[in-house]
């Protein structure tokens, strides 16, 4: 299939950003039901072309909207995301919605409860619109490994949308965001609770939002971030991202050169990659000029361990996956062991389970798993050294951007993650945002920050966005 999805007619509800939508639902200008109906209608128009959803249940959506409307009618205050439609990647548990993680094996799995982040979204009156498709258990970089069919890039149906799109293990938020021209944040590891995230590689899995703008994304992160007693790896520090950013935004809009004190590191090896498309390189250089004009200083930074990082990532992720996926043995889900693992799991998942099992096996564990752990430490140290010289690191998200469906598999596909994996290994916050939004196929820029500095990364993103896409952040729509 080639071509484009049907354009929509200018529509206030679909175009409204989060701040505006929440404000209108709270004041009653729009009911949550109106918002839900409009979004459902749009999903019906686009789904035959894109196939982004595994589950959209109109009734479940409208019930949630009705609950919010009743709450307003009773005069109760509405939450921070009142009436905002949110789609949940299918590896996050959602009570009432089947959760498959893109696998045939879990085709009928009804979670007993919501993931912590989903619970938090619901308690702030967001509307869970549906469950989105993904590479099986998050294993893939193109969304072609889903047991329920491929997903297409909404900007060009002949291209992949990126993958796996969610629990950002190795780039599954940033890479699809870059391919599809939206923004995505992989927060610091532990910023968002992993409780209720179907585990792929536990030491790398990170839950994060994708949205149309950094500002919208920030609203979502505000709600889902924060410590969770059920996830011991969640960061214990409280997050008042929303308040903090509001203050920053106000301060920033008053200053001509808001980035005057900011040192931006430019990831040399990434920009010099031969695979990097020339239009991508130009777009990035243009973005850097914009950032310089806002007062930032630019420092070239060398982070040479690109390929080693990618190899280490695949060894570690596969090792952890081989244990995490062992529970799908058919004793508790689906059918008994042999058939379950033969038929229930896709080829890529089996490949990684075997790879991980091998990497952990006695006699090989030193050469693979332990060596990969050492590389991970080296990558962390590279970042620490880099952040002594600069405040943020800038680079591309993917070497060549969205590629055609069916053109990459196996190790070629693994190489797609080469630019996103280092931040994943080090657990750093990394934001992907389009740096030439007007192009037909946008190029993704990646902003990486120090561990825990999610707010700083978002602030830089917002500053850039205000200059390059003033309309999308405006509250007056």
């Amino acid at each position: 299939m080639t071509g484009f999805v049907p354009r929509y007619h200018p529509d206030e509800i679909l175009e409204a950003n989060v701040a505006a939508l929440v404000q209108k639902v709270r004041t009653g200008t729009w009911t949550a039901t109106q918002v839900a109906e409009r979004y459902l209608q749009r999903v019906r128009e686009t789904e035959p072309f894109i196939g982004a959803y595994l589950l959209v249940d109109d009734q479940l959506v409208l019930e949630q909207a009705a609950t919010i409307d009743q709450k307003r009618q009773r005069g109760e205050p509405l939450g921070l995301l009142a009436g905002v439609p949110v789609s949940i990647k299918d590896n996050l548990l959602t009570k009432g919605f089947t959760t498959t993680a893109g696998s045939r094996l879990l085709q009928r799995y009804q979670p007993p409860e919501d993931a912590t982040c989903v619970k938090r979204l619901r308690s702030e009156d967001a509307i869970i619109l549906g469950k989105t498709a993904m590479d099986e258990f998050g294993m893939g970089s193109s969304s072609e490994n889903c047991a329920y069919g491929v997903v297409r890039n909404p900007l060009d149906l002949s291209l992949v949308p990126g993958g796996s799109s969610g629990g950002n293990t190795g780039g599954s938020i940033r890479q699809p965001a870059a391919f599809c021209g939206v923004v995505g944040l992989k927060p610091s590891y532990g910023r968002v609770s992993r409780y209720g995230l179907v585990a792929y590689a536990s030491s790398l899995d990170t839950v994060g939002p994708m949205a149309r703008s950094v500002s919208d994304l920030t609203h979502c992160l505000t709600v889902i971030a924060g410590p969770d007693p059920r996830d011991l790896t969640s960061l214990s520090e409280p997050t008042n991202i929303h308040d903090f950013l509001r203050e920053t935004e106000e301060a920033l809009s008053a200053v001509a050169k808001p980035l005057r004190q900011v040192r931006l590191g430019i990831w040399k090896e990434a920009l010099e990659m031969p695979q990097l498309a020339s239009h991508g390189r130009q777009a990035l250089e243009e973005a850097l000029r914009t950032l310089t004009s806002l007062g930032a200083s630019i420092i070239p930074i060398s982070m040479p361990r690109l390929r080693a990082a990618c190899a280490a990532y695949y060894v570690l992720a596969s090792s952890e996956a081989s244990a995490n996926l062992a529970r799908y043995d058919g004793v508790r889900y689906w059918q008994m062991t042999r058939r379950t693992r033969t038929l229930g799991l896709g080829a890529e998942v089996k490949r990684r389970i075997m790879l991980g099992t091998f990497a952990l096996s006695s006699g090989y564990v030193d050469a693979y798993y332990r060596r990969a752990m050492q590389v991970r430490q080296l990558v962390k140290r590279d970042f620490e050294l880099a952040f002594q010289q600069c405040d943020y690191l800038i680079g591309p998200v993917s070497p060549a951007g969205a590629f055609a469906l069916g053109t990459k598999a196996g190790v070629d596909l693994y190489a797609e993650d080469v630019l996103t994996v280092p931040a994943s290994l080090a657990g750093l916050p990394a934001l992907a945002l389009p740096c030439n939004p007007k192009a037909t196929l946008p190029t993704g820029m990646q902003i990486m920050g120090r561990y825990g500095d999610d707010v700083g990364v978002l602030r830089l993103g917002i500053v850039y966005e205000r200059v390059t896409r003033p309309l999308i952040t405006s509250d007056e729509q």
């Binding site: 959760t99 979670p111 590689a201 244990a323 952990l360 006695s362």
Partner: protein, 604 residues
């Protein structure tokens, strides 16, 4: 501590229904001395009038007895004795190396990594949640109490406690493991390098490590035509399949401590003694119920033998091939299984055959070890650090607080009883059999030290109390079906203290006290003094009354009086007996004896 925990008596008693009746009879004959002691203990009189059980004098033999005596009572003495000779002969030629791997359930209220109850359940799969059934998206949160108990166990076993410890995943694929990996500890266990001292010999058994892990689910395998229930349970499989298995997750995720010893033991008796002392330590410190029948204490044994000749002439090339023994459900079984295995391996080597590295099960019926599986190579568990649980850092202050909270352990108690209360090693051993008995004894001592009479001392009173508890009371508990220790009877420490004082001040005789014990253990009583006064059983020490009774007896037996006076002084016993009988056992025996001699010797 949970009262459901059983003392060793109940533990071993459980084995009885499986025991061939033939052996029960035999046991009765073999054990005459022991059982006779408990029914009719030979009595001798002390200066203070307290009864002393004859076994008291056996104290020097306590050491060896401690490990085996309890089992003897349950009918294995004969078998052991027969086996022991064969073992002794074999051990002259071969040295046995025995190491033990123990799993104990830590006495927490909730599971290791979730909030489900660890209580025993009336039905399968009721103490479960998404975490302990390994559902997608769930994460483990270690139980604080589990860590506390593991540290305390490490301290009680004189281990070095890790200031930094971590959890690891141990991968193995079996349907009883919900995640198909177990959260355990690999290279940074919580405790390392400790030891346990065997009470009998004082020999130190090294503790290599102790680490926390989670229990698996329980599986029920059924063979035979699938019935209605089976086809429901095995939904999805064809109903024509003949066998099915059921999985109960109530135990899945229950916290365990695995304790690994060095290869320091040399016989079945030592392995059993190690298990018994470990059980005592963990029960006293309230770390585990350590109940072998409920599986809260599971012991696996590794055993190898090597020719002693090789040791002597220097050709010794290390240990022999190791065999692992499982299904050891009592200390008795441990001892017999290890001894059986020593004999089996020695027979193989004697025939010029090799010992295979394998896992064997102890078969209680056959009294033999049976092959379970041959270990061709070490299992590969593909350990790696558990990414869902961060490194655990234990503050020294916390460890010290836990150390301070540990109660006095049995070894320390035994030493104190012997050094400060002057008890024999045997009595000290009996009094530290289980925490309930120890508590009973110590409370009794508390009452007895409140007002020490001028004529007595704490040491005398402690000895008296110890004798009662180790003697008549223990014997009576053993006969009672529903009592594991004296704490399960109506006798209270306060009443026993009163009894001891009444004997001491001569209000009642030891004989009366002996008769009172069963009554005091069966029916509630508020005061022993009130009871004996109401029953008119106080001791008679009035000389006139006693002399009158003696005169009566002498009058009725003139020939015996004459015979006595002609030199048959042995007849004094006859007169004392007759007089005591006439006094309904209430006469002061020392005084009576003295008066009888006086009157008989007096020419009239």
């Amino acid at each position: 501590m949970d009262r459901s925990s059983l003392s060793w008596r109940a533990c071993v008693g459980f084995v009885l229904p499986w025991w061939p009746l033939r052996r029960c009879f035999w046991r009765g004959a073999m054990l005459t001395s022991t059982t006779a002691t408990s029914k009719h203990p030979p009595v001798r009189l002390c200066s203070n009038g307290a009864l002393v059980n004859e076994r008291h004098s056996l104290s020097s033999a306590w050491l060896h007895a401690s490990a085996t005596e309890q089992r003897n009572k349950n009918g294995t003495a004969s078998r052991r004795r027969k086996g022991a000779e064969a073992i002794d002969r074999v051990l002259e030629r071969y040295a046995a190396t025995v190491g033990v791997e123990v799993h104990v359930q830590l006495a927490t209220a909730t599971k290791a990594y979730c909030g489900c109850s660890t209580a025993s359940a009336s039905e399968p799969n009721i103490h479960i949640c998404p975490v302990c059934t390994g559902q997608p998206g769930t994460l483990p949160v270690p139980n604080r109490k589990m860590v506390e108990l593991a540290v305390k166990a490490g301290l009680a076993l004189r281990c070095r406690i890790a200031s930094r410890t971590k959890f690891d995943r141990k991968n193995y694929f079996y349907a009883d493991t919900p995640k198909n990996f177990q959260i355990s500890q690999y290279d940074m266990p919580i405790a390392e390098e400790g030891y346990l001292e065997l009470p009998s010999t004082g020999k130190r058994i090294s503790i290599r490590r102790a680490h926390m892990e989670e229990d698996s689910a329980k599986m029920f395998h059924t063979v035979g035509p699938a019935d209605q229930e089976a086809s429901v349970a095995a939904a999805g499989t064809a109903s024509s399949e003949a066998s099915y298995s059921l999985v109960d997750h109530n135990r899945a995720g229950v916290p365990l401590l695995e304790i690994v010893t060095g290869p320091d033991m040399e016989s079945g008796a030592e392995a059993a003694a190690f298990g018994e002392e470990l059980q005592r330590i963990l029960r006293y410190a309230e770390i585990s119920d350590c109940n072998m029948q409920d599986g809260s204490l599971r012991v696996d044994v590794n055993i190898s033998i090597r020719p002693r000749v090789a040791d002597e002439d220097g050709t010794h090339h290390g240990l022999g091939t190791k065999v692992e023994l499982k299904n050891l459900n009592s200390f008795n079984a441990i001892e017999r299984a290890v001894d059986h295995e020593i004999l089996r391996q020695a027979a193989l080597l004697d025939r010029g055959e090799l010992v295979r590295q394998e896992t064997r099960l102890w078969d209680e019926r056959e009294q033999a070890t049976k092959l379970l599986r041959v270990k061709e190579e070490a299992s590969d568990y593909r350990y790696f650090p558990e990414p869902d649980i961060p490194l655990l850092v234990l503050e020294p202050a916390q460890i010290e607080a836990w150390r301070a909270a540990l109660p006095e352990l049995p070894a320390e108690k035994r030493r104190r009883y012997m050094d400060q209360l002057g008890l024999s090693a045997y009595d000290a051993g009996i009094l530290t059999t289980d925490p309930a008995t120890t508590a009973f004894f110590e409370q009794t001592i508390n009452y007895l030290t409140e007002d020490v009479a001028k004529t007595s001392s704490v040491v005398d009173r402690a000895k008296a109390a110890a004798n009662w508890i180790a003697g008549d009371i223990a014997a009576h508990v053993k006969q009672k079906a529903n009592a594991d220790s004296v704490a399960d009877t109506t006798l209270s420490p306060k009443l026993l203290a009163e009894l001891v004082v009444l004997i001491e001040d001569g209000t009642i005789s030891g004989k009366i006290a002996k008769e009172l014990i069963p009554a005091l253990m069966e029916t509630t009583c508020s005061s022993v003094r009130a009871l004996v006064e109401a029953q008119g059983r106080t001791q008679i020490r009035d000389e006139a009354t006693i002399i009158e009774l003696i005169r009566q007896v002498m009058h009725e037996n003139p020939q015996n009086v004459q015979a006595y006076r002609q030199g048959k002084t042995k007849l004094a016993g006859f007169f004392v007996g007759q007089v005591m009988k006439r006094g309904n056992g209430r006469l002061d025996p020392v005084l009576t004896q003295q008066l009888v001699s006086e009157l008989l010797s007096r020419e009239e």
